[in-house]
Amino acid sequence: MRIRIKFRKYGAMKFIGHLDIMRYFQKSIRRAGIDIAYSEGFHPHPLISFAAPLGVGITSDGEYFDIVVNSSDTSKHSLEVLNEVMAEGVEVVSYKRLLDSDAKAMTAVAAADYKLWIRENYEAPQIDYEAALFQFFRKPEEILITKKTKKSEKVMDLKKLVFHFQIEMEQGRPVFYLKVSTGSTDNLKPELVLSTFFEWLGQDFHPLSIQNHRIDVYGKKDGALVSLGEMGEIIE
């Protein structure tokens, strides 16, 4: 039986990297007594696979992983036992049985929602963000940028990879909402969109001045983006 677990990551836990979070959950599942299944072989490992890795320093309300279990208690009870063994800063918010038709979390990932803001101890540029956004993002047919990796450079079109870009003023400071392509093929980091935007504005961009928060992760179902948390059903 396949189970999808959704969790939140906040506070000091944002400094725990992806690999360490994976190891953390392997242990947490054992502590909680979830009847997880193991692989065959000399060193059996628990069957657990994570959706989209989250960078160090980013908080999230929508992280996902799938596990295979031999048997399961109700969703409500499983949530309780898991949350009893969590560290402060990680909260499990959903535990659902996947249907056969639901793709694995890892392969399903297509997009993610982010909210980014400028940390309080940094000054936020005072400009007309709505107008700037129109000129920078809505008006052009394509926005070509070069993404540098260790080995190669890749030209990407932001218009194709940014599905949604909105700026809201909260207490006089801009908050950036982005829905971007995520996953193994066309992965776009929202910080890259912001730095391109700031560059276009002629403003300095300090990566450390930005706090990034992931809101949710989406998969594709029948051509439409569906939250990974929408998939599966609650075990009563």
Partner: protein, 621 residues
Amino acid sequence: MKRLALSDEILLTIEKPARYIGNEINSIQKEKKDVNIRFVMCFPDVYEIGMSHLGIQILYDMFNKMEDVWCERVYSPWPDLHKILKEKKIPLFALESQDAVRGFDFLGITLQYEMCYTNILQILDLAQIPLLAKDRTNEDPFVIGGGPCAYNPEPLADFFDLFYIGEGETSYDALFDIYKEWKSSGRCRDEFLRQAAKVPGIYAPSLYQVKYHTDGTISSFAPIEEGIPEKIEKQVVLELSEAVYPEKPLVPFLQATQDRVVLEIQRGCIRGCRFCQAGMIYRPTREKEAEVLKKYASLMLKNTGYDEISLSSLSSSDYSNLKELVTYLIDEFQEKGVNISLPSLRIDAFSLDVMEKVQDIKKSSLTFAPEAGSQRLRDVINKGLTKEVILEGAGQAFAGGWQKVKLYFMLGLPTEEEADRCAIAELANQIAACYYDIPKEIRNGKCQITISTSFFVPKPFTPFQWASMHKEEDYLHFAKTVNEAVKNQLNRKSIRYNWHEADVTVLEGVFARGDRRLSKVILRAYEKGCIFDAWSDFFDNEAWKQAFCETGIDPEFYTVRKRSLDEIFPWDFIDAGVTKEFLKREYENALAQKVTNNCRMKCSGCGAGKYQGGVCVENSN
């Protein structure tokens, strides 16, 4: 959620920020107002090493079970953070509360190896606590050291207010009671040290005076006033099964060097190898009951979620109920995906059978620690392992499908000669030959014998505490001899040889048997930027040499000098159980190549019998 001591910007700039945020599973939070004593326990090395240490886990658990004590942890900040803390003048903080270390009542530092001594100064420096104990005021914590290197604490005498000699489980209650009384009295700092010095096992270095002969050796070592004990008695827990042990050990987010449940099955060792300090200072050997261990194994696996459990002891094969315990662990936990690791096992039919069950033979290797190449030298060091036993064990293992063997030796042992060094290569060759005796069609390609040598460092409270060391270049020459000898073996293609640098060995030797005059060398080396000396990337031998030179201290006084049998050693004020007479006797036996029986075969009257516990009273009921 609590505030972190470091800003997001700092944490995102440094390597592995998870080292500094605390919040680990099973870490303890308390309310400051509910406790009287705030203790911060330090392992002066990087987080991943420090978190692997069992002793701190035991004391952390024990202290936090005390209602009015809150024990937290701190480890050495990596050089990247070190730089930032210095530049921005951010005081070093404890992980749990993220509060500055300098505001605590006690800073406890575990002394596991000599090469972490400059890291102790780093901790004090970054914590903004005066480096020298004499400069501290009532506002500063009391800095207390413990662990194996506390059996010769003298090189650190200037930096510590107190040392705790022996096992931590026994005397902290008494020390804390005195502290609470002192704290409410408002008296001066020395007054507390004076009272503390009367607690069994507590040593206050400032209350003792050392005088020297003109040749630099000690002429007298005595308390400076009445009422301070002349001898400090090491502390021993006699009923180990009933002693505190963490049911809920800390689980780090980062992968620690030892990232598993550790089950201490016994303390001490019956073998009496003459080079081994642990085998002497943890006497008498005490076992934990198998039933108690089974209970702890279940609880600890459940409370941590680890998928691996390791038995801890100096010589697991000597644990009386090993078979029962290991069978239980395999039957109970292996199906639940738990790996069982069994270090320090003698290779015999039983251990091979167990290893076959718990390891992948093709990938794992067999480990032997003959420590010396020739039988003659093994008799000198009292390592009761014979060539026949090694070859028999290796033969059985090869027949069972193993192909890899690791061999551990020491170079620079007392009485060692060229022939003993060559014998290392010869032994490896014979083991390989043993493998190639298996018919070609049955065996699976080549075997792989790996020889590793370390250079021997004489330690206090061992029969070799009188032994001279060698010069740096001599050590390298010894290693070269072994390397050449390996090349001359028939099976050389199946043998690999690794050895270590010798400069660290010499320094380790200086501090292992050093006196309090060395404090100023350590201080000077730290001022010159020496830090993380145990890490070859950071070790700066040149800076150390300068530090010795500038402080006018000759390192060779502590290493190559010949010590006479009646010399007063800096550590003689400690009563470690084993008597100086016994150690002398054993040193003479070593020189006469006479083997001494292990504790179970025959008591050698080492002195630990006075504690009336463990193996000393095993068959007397």
